[in-house]
């Protein structure tokens, strides 16, 4: 075996704990990237499968406005327009009311015409003489019957012949399972997971949409599609089936990019850790490399052996990281799916997809990080003259000089970061590149700053604690080649943790303040549903009338939230508002006046748009937005005002209800806002509203504005639960990093400490001295983490948030508590991480330490 390889192997075998820490630290970095990638990919895959399964072989789909399509259109398409392969679909969501189970799992109702399914979705149809598990006759003839897959039936605890209690749009309903399908192909099984397949008339009854369809899937050639598109009635349109596939990716793009970036941040911290480890491993064996080179090893041999070690270490770490990542992905998948369900749409994500591309990306990043991290120490190992390498003299002088050079490079990187951040005020990729450059700049500056801080602390510590105090500081400066790295790694991790924390805190503060203004009404009423279902739920007309009739109500606004298309086909969320005189009080204007907004909501001549929509479509007051309507084709509406909003990241627009009614064939209401009559308290209004809701057939959610504010903040916290997990990962990597660094640092100071002991330092004095030094290093890391964390928090809050979602935060503050947190976290991490190595060193047999060369 190559002797250099043997030396490296034995070094790590002798220092197994160090090896394990390094492998584990990098593994966590890789795990974060893999876990986030797998969770994202699994969610996307589940959605795609569901779309593919439900689209089947359809090439196009006919869709309408917010109210959907008339079901007679299906017949007309087949007979009048000559498209025989067409299948109508009506979809909606409901909750299963399971006995002994408070979870109320979400199910999708899929209403179909079983006789039309076979050519488009064989797994649902398979009619026309072929064998089927579906009892078509019963499904069509018996109202309230459904078919589910075996997996769904098992999850719901129901068999063929059993019944299921449901809550659909606030109404309770009961359906009977007449058949359990066991699809043989994966696509059908995944696509139909947690889906209730039912006949169209049952779906229309359940969803209370008599005579309506959501879409009609068709199979046509491109030329036939063109002629069909031309024949379709006003308010309907033909679109390619594959357009739906991109919906999830498009809707959740910013969310996914941010998650991936967080994973990268964890990997960056992990990469720094391995850089640290490799530096230590090389620096520790510097004399050995010197001897090997004096004996004839070529620089190339030394260089190759160091890189080879990094590769082996990287492989081990990557394997571990992928394993950990898959485990972590199961946890994250739940959080990602929940966020997607909360904000985007209802879907069933239960299975983790081990996407080879994600695994390969994780492996590639892990290995690249290891090799890149080892390049510098490998270069150092071969560039130092053999004579100098054998002795330590000169190493620290070079480290001090190197820290000055690195600081210079750091300033250049900082400048480059600022330039990149200002190059394009919309690019998310450039925002993250800028952040990366800024972080690299701070890591380059950190060793030099550490040297400054340690030198500055030497005299006061000497005065305070005498020789041991001064020794602690001077010894740390004297080992800057190692302590600089340890402090930098800890600084980076703590900065990442407090940066994320401060960003979340600032964002939460902004949302909380905004909710205080936005929730201007006293009481809100809607149908209980996830936010993702807000454009599909409807309040029954009776429910709205009952609320209007309440004597406690002074004023009332109604909202209808729908999805409409912009002229280019872009999906927009639109709220049709029947405004009260106080509706505008809830809007914080960013552009345009309150008077203009009030007028727009009264006369319907203009739109109000939220800040994210203005950002996304680059619109402002005076610009026009063209939307497709049911009755008037494309209608151009001027923008009267832009208001602040953090509820919908893709933005939304408000239009007066009267104008909406004239443009769309839809009279539904999604929610109602109530103001108490003069002389009536909010509590009285709340009680009266709750009584009315209790009397209504439809289950309604009644909340006072304060309750809604709390509920909204809960959703906010849930969304950031993923960030909190990543924050913990960063801290875990930091903990491992600093423990590994301090262990290695103290391991190589065995002789020095032995000499101290020999001339009279007691084990306690040594332990106190070393612990003091660890705390001092932690203090340096904490102090340096404050500006780095502040910069990171500001970049995430003001730059990334803006570019991802179009939000500007009300104010960016860096709470003083976060600075204290940074110092305490770093000092505690360094102190805790250093306890074991310090005690071990202080208690090491003295004679052995003195003999150790």
């Amino acid at each position: 075996m190559n002797p250099l390889v043997r030396i490296g192997g034995r070094h790590f075998l002798r220092h197994r704990a160090q090896l394990a820490l390094a492998v584990f630290g990098v593994g966590i970095g890789v795990a974060a990237v893999v876990a986030i990638g797998l969770a994202n990919e699994s969610a996307s895959r589940a959605f795609d499968l569901s779309v593919d399964s439900l689209s089947g072989r359809a090439t196009h789909r006919v869709v309408g406005g917010p109210g959907g399509l008339e079901d007679d259109l299906h017949r007309r398409i087949r007979t009048e327009f000559g498209v025989p392969t067409a299948a109508p679909v009506l979809e909606g969501t409901c909750r299963a009311l399971l006995p002994d189970d408070a979870r109320r799992p979400t199910l999708r109702i899929l209403g179909i015409d079983p006789l039309a399914e076979a050519p488009l979705r064989p797994h649902l149809g398979a009619f026309g003489g072929r064998q089927t598990q579906l009892d078509v006759g019963r499904l069509m003839a018996e109202p309230g019957t459904v078919v589910v897959t075996g997996e769904t039936a098992r999850a719901l605890g129901v068999d063929a012949g059993g019944s299921l209690a449901l809550e659909v749009a606030g109404f309770e309903a009961r359906v009977r399972v007449i058949s359990v399908l066991e699809p043989t192909d994966e696509l059908a099984a995944r696509g139909l997971d947690h889906v209730l397949v039912t006949d169209m008339s049952t779906a229309q009854d359940l969803l209370r949409r008599p005579g309506r369809l959501d879409r009609i899937d068709i199979l046509v050639s491109d030329s036939a599609a063109e002629s069909l598109a031309a024949s379709l009635p006003e308010g309907t349109r033909l679109e390619p089936a594959e357009r739906q596939r991109g919906v999830l990716r498009d809707l959740t793009r910013a969310f996914r990019i941010n998650l991936e970036a967080m994973g990268m941040l964890a990997l960056l911290v992990g990469a720094f850790l391995i850089h640290n480890t490799m530096r230590f491993a090389v620096v520790q064996r510097r004399p050995l490399f010197g001897i090997a080179r004096a004996l004839g090893a070529t620089p190339r041999q030394v260089f190759t052996s160091v890189l080879g070690e990094a590769l082996v270490l990287g492989c081990l770490a990557t394997l571990l990281g992928i394993g950990l990542g898959i485990g972590l992905a199961h946890l994250l998948l739940g959080l990602v799916a929940r966020t997607i369900e909360d904000f985007y749409f209802s879907m069933s994500v239960r299975e983790l997809v081990l996407d080879p591309a994600v695994l390969a990306t994780g492996a590639g990043l892990g290995l690249t990080a290891c090799i890149a991290a080892a390049l510098l120490p490998a270069r150092e190992a071969v560039r130092v003259p053999a004579r100098e390498a054998i002795h330590r003299a000169g190493l620290e002088t070079r480290a001090t000089q190197g820290s000055r050079r690195a600081a210079g490079i750091g300033l250049l990187l900082l400048l480059a970061g600022v330039v990149v951040l200002q190059a394009d005020d919309r690019s998310i990729a450039l925002a993250y590149t800028g952040i990366l450059l800024v972080l690299l700049a701070t890591t380059s500056l950190a060793p030099w700053c550490t040297g400054l801080l340690l030198r500055a602390s030497s005299r006061p510590l000497g005065r305070l604690l005498g020789g041991p105090g001064r020794y602690a500081a001077q010894s740390a400066v004297g080992s800057l080649s190692r302590t600089g790295l340890a402090v930098t790694a800890l600084m980076l991790a703590v900065a990442a943790a407090i940066g994320l924390g401060a960003m979340i805190q600032t964002f939460r503060g902004t949302v909380s303040t905004w909710l205080g203004t936005a929730l201007a009404a006293d009481v809100y009423v809607t149908v209980p549903a996830a936010m993702s279902e807000r454009t599909s739920v409807q309040m029954a007309p009776d429910s709205v009338r009952a609320l209007e009739a309440l004597p406690e109500v002074g004023e009332l606004s109604t909202y209808r939230r729908v999805e409409v298309l912009e002229a280019t086909g872009l999906r927009l969320e639109l709220a049709a508002v029947r405004a009260s005189s106080r509706t505008v009080e809830g809007l914080s204007m960013l552009d345009g006046t309150e008077e203009a907004a009030r007028a727009a909501l009264q006369n319907g001549e203009a739109l109000l748009i939220s800040e994210p929509l203005a950002w996304r479509l680059r619109l402002g007051v005076g610009d026009e937005l063209v939307i497709r309507t049911d009755t008037r084709g494309n209608v151009s509406l001027p923008i009267a005002a832009v208001f602040r909003d953090y509820a919908a990241e893709r933005g939304w627009a408000m239009l007066a209800r009267a104008r909406y009614d004239a443009l769309f064939d839809d009279d539904a209401v999604t929610s109602v806002a109530l103001w108490a009559r003069e002389g009536t308290t909010v509590a009285e209004l709340l009680e009266a509203t709750q009584d009315a809701a209790d009397r209504a057939e439809q289950r309604l959610a009644v909340q006072a504005s304060e309750g809604l504010r709390v509920a909204s903040l809960e959703i906010f916290d849930r969304t950031f639960a993923i960030t909190a997990v990543l924050r913990l990962l960063c801290l875990a990597v930091a903990g491992l990093g600093i423990f590994s660094a301090l262990s290695a640092l103290q391991l190589e100071r065995r002789r020095e400490v032995g000499a101290l002991r020999a001339i009279g330092a007691t084990p306690r004095q040594v332990a106190v001295m070393l612990t003091g030094q660890n705390l001092l290093l932690g203090l340096c890391a904490g102090l340096l983490a404050i500006p780095t964390g502040m910069a990171l928090a500001w970049l995430l809050a003001a730059v990334v948030n803006r570019r991802s979602f179009g939000w500007t935060l009300l104010e960016f503050g860096f709470p003083p508590g976060v600075a204290v947190d940074a110092v305490l976290t770093a000092v505690a991490a360094a102190g805790l991480a250093g306890i074991w190595p310090s005690l071990r060193l202080a208690r090491a047999p003295l004679s052995a330490a003195l003999r150790d060369e």
């Binding site: 041991p468 020794y471 010894s475 020095e752 000499a755 001339i759 084990p763 004679s847």
Partner: protein, 230 residues
């Protein structure tokens, strides 16, 4: 002369690979105050082990090690350390200077481990450095010094607290012949006042010849080696 060092039935054993090896066996030894004693012996014979016992670095496995009447075997690690920094000075073959401290700081270190150095301590440290020929190097770091200079700093450091016993483990082992002679001259000069006892381990017979008494360690036992000869 009174005895400064008394060893009675001292055994020191080490466990190596599951087996116990006795490095020193039933050792009895008395060293008078103010004497200079050289320890000779082959590598691995136990010279350094004996010095470690005398300096209180290691406790004996069995037996008594009395320095100025104090039995080090009965003291715990901390008490032995405190005793060492008050009564014993040590010089090593590899110097063992603290690389991040200056020459003066290295010399004052044993005092600083005990208490805050006084101006008198600083004065004494400078005096020792003057006597060792390093008065102009007080602010230099050890890496800037030659081997001989480093050993002279180590010597000054070993004497800063005016120890009764100076233990030197092959103090010239890392030095060339000429520098070794200079260091030995200095060592002799610094210990010539009759108050200080010197025990040094060496391979060099010329070094041993400078001492009053020469002991040889053979198979874990100490033998008088007769009068020193150059």
């Amino acid at each position: 002369m009174t005895a400064l060092v008394e060893l009675h039935a001292v055994t020191r054993s080490y466990v190596e690979g599951g087996r116990t090896r006795d490095v020193l066996q039933s050792l009895d030894l008395v060293i008078e105050r103010g004497s200079k004693v050289a320890l000779l012996g082959r590598s691995g014979s136990g010279k350094s082990t004996l010095l470690s016992l005398l300096a209180g670095i290691d406790p004996p496995t069995t037996g008594e090690v009395r320095i100025a009447g104090t039995n080090l075997a009965t003291l715990d690690e901390t008490a032995r350390t405190v005793f060492r920094r008050q009564h014993i000075g040590m010089v090593f073959q590899a110097f063992h200077l603290v690389p991040v401290l200056t020459v003066l700081e290295n010399v004052l270190l044993p005092i600083e481990l005990e208490r805050r150095p006084t101006s008198r301590d600083r004065e004494f440290a400078r005096e020792l450095l003057t006597r060792t020929g390093l008065a102009d190097r007080t602010t230099a770091l050890p890496e800037r010094l030659s081997g001989g200079e480093q050993q002279r700093v180590a010597l000054a450091r070993a004497l800063i607290h005016d120890p009764a016993l100076l233990v030197a483990d092959e103090p010239t082992g890392n030095l060339d012949a000429q520098t070794a002679e200079q260091v030995l001259d200095l060592l002799g000069e610094l210990c010539d006042d009759g108050r200080r006892t010197l025990v040094l381990a060496t391979h060099s017979t010329s070094c041993a010849a400078r001492c009053d008494r020469v002991l040889r360690i053979v198979d874990g036992h100490v033998e008088e080696a007769g009068p020193p000869t150059p």
